[in-house]
């Protein structure tokens, strides 16, 4: 049932996407900087805990102003643990001037968070090293950003900068919601 719904939604998106001239399914590549912090409250240095993001997007209406993004981000964080984030976000891009635009994003994702250090589990034979095995948790990503994109097929890149806030659920029993931020700098690469 879920697969059927997903297929229907995707088919609807793709059929609408054919109506405009937004170049669908670019490769999104970004460098990311992760932090466990509230939005705009991260302490310096800001450019620590580097990650890499890969993704793509497809337009709802054939134009760049209303798209759905799909992205996978891996990041390292020696203090709180690295992670692999899979998420999709609906993106609204109001134009600023010319081909420059701003972005507002909202979506849902899943975070596979690792531990910063090896974990130990008590067993009958003492403490067993279970490695950096972490935990999966649902996340709600919200983002803002700026970017540049042109419909000119002769230009293959469209750069962007995003600030992403992620609210991770079920971090632990006493801290059910934990905030993360990602600063993203990258580009869509059109083929």
């Amino acid at each position: 049932m879920a697969l059927f719904l997903c297929a229907t939604v995707m088919q609807s998106i793709w059929s609408q996407a054919d109506e405009g001239n937004h170049r669908n399914f670019p490769l999104i590549i970004s460098i990311e900087f992760h932090s466990l912090s509230l939005p705009f409250k991260n302490k310096r240095p800001l450019f620590k805990n580097v990650g890499i993001g890969l993704g793509t997007e497809v337009s709802y209406n054939g134009n760049r102003n209303w798209v759905q993004q799909f992205k996978m981000t891996w990041y390292g964080n020696k203090t709180v643990g690295g992670g692999l984030l899979l998420h999709t976000q609906a993106v609204w891009r109001p134009d600023i001037v010319g081909d420059a635009f701003s972005e507002v994003k909202l979506g849902i994702g899943y975070l596979i968070a690792k531990r910063p250090k090896e974990g130990y589990q008590p067993t009958k034979n003492g403490w067993e090293n279970v490695g950096k095995k972490g935990k999966g948790m649902l996340v709600v990503p919200i983002g803002i950003g700026l970017g540049y994109d042109t419909y000119d097929e002769g230009i293959y890149v469209s750069p962007f900068a995003n600030y992403q806030f992620l609210l991770a659920t079920n971090y632990n029993e006493s801290m059910p919601l934990v905030p993360f931020t990602l600063m993203e700098f990258g580009s869509r690469v059109h083929f």
């Binding site: 466990l36 250090k117 090896e118 403490w127 935990k135 632990n172 029993e173």
Partner: protein
Amino acid sequence: MKQIITFFFLVFGCYFGWSQIDFNPNHPKGKEVSPILKSLVENGCPGASLALLDENGWWLQSEGFANIEEQQKMEDTFLHYLQSVTKTYMAVAILKLYEEGKLQLDDPITQYLAPEVSNMLDRADEISIKMLLNHTSGIPEYNFDPDYASTLLQHPETPFKAVDYIKFIKGKKLTFDPGSKYSYRNTNYVLLTLIADSITGDHGIYMEENIFKPLGLQHTYYRISDEKLAGETLTSSYWDRYSDGILENITYIQKQNVTHMVGDDGIVTTTSEAILFLKGLLEGKLLKESTLQLMKTWVNNREGKPAYGLGLGHGDVFGHPYYGHSGGGIGAGCELRYFPESNRYMFIAINIGTVTYSPLHIQLEELRNKLFVAMTD
């Protein structure tokens, strides 16, 4: 030769501060509770240390690991984080200043705090020093602020000063009318350090001079640093980050956190010196009897039971009272208790975090309750 050995024993015994500890290997209560301590480390606690003192003398016992990765056994001489037990020391410092006539307990805190600090607090002029001491001020809790928690986890090296903690509650309303009820807040004791600083210049030095030295506490440290702890072993700390029963070494964050906390936390000590402090306090070596009575003037909790005095907690085990304080941190926990009916002091320290939930806590709490019951007879 024998004289030389005795001399060395005396000199080093005094230097290392163990001269006050006369361990009784046949301590009846110690032998009774020994299996409980062993069970603690067999049921999810990396390491535990216990000290008992009563009419039968001292019992010291350590079980499990101070550090799991290095398989370092816990020892009686290792240092433990006192966490909130520090509040009792801070209260004694304030009450010493009261005895010296340098402050009055019913004075408004605005009389001692710098205007820039008072201005951050709601209705500061209605709050007295006594309300800070017994947690009836209504001032909000600084460590409930998500920015504080996230800064601690991501940037544990942040050199917080006392005023920085107060900034987390800047402009927030009191949660109840001053003096109207009891609600435990760490912020109260951070403010007490600022008051003590305004009088003494440095409350840390004052505490060392007026509490640690008179009681001969040579292994008790406040505002810790690597230099201060040179030659000592501070136990490692473990945290169940994801509440899944898996522990990770959180020593760096724990130590950084305790390094910067003042008044509400910040002391590390041995199990025996924790007891020597409480014993010295309750036997009148630090404060006058009248002041001690003020300290033991309890305010009630929601259930109407006596809960807290001036830096001293009150509780009971099946109707048997105890005084003291408990402490909890991200990577440690402890309890310092005096049971007046049995005239017994107890201090237990564990190196698993107690401030966030872990399924491992369930069994540890059952064992802790067994230990408490054993203390009452």
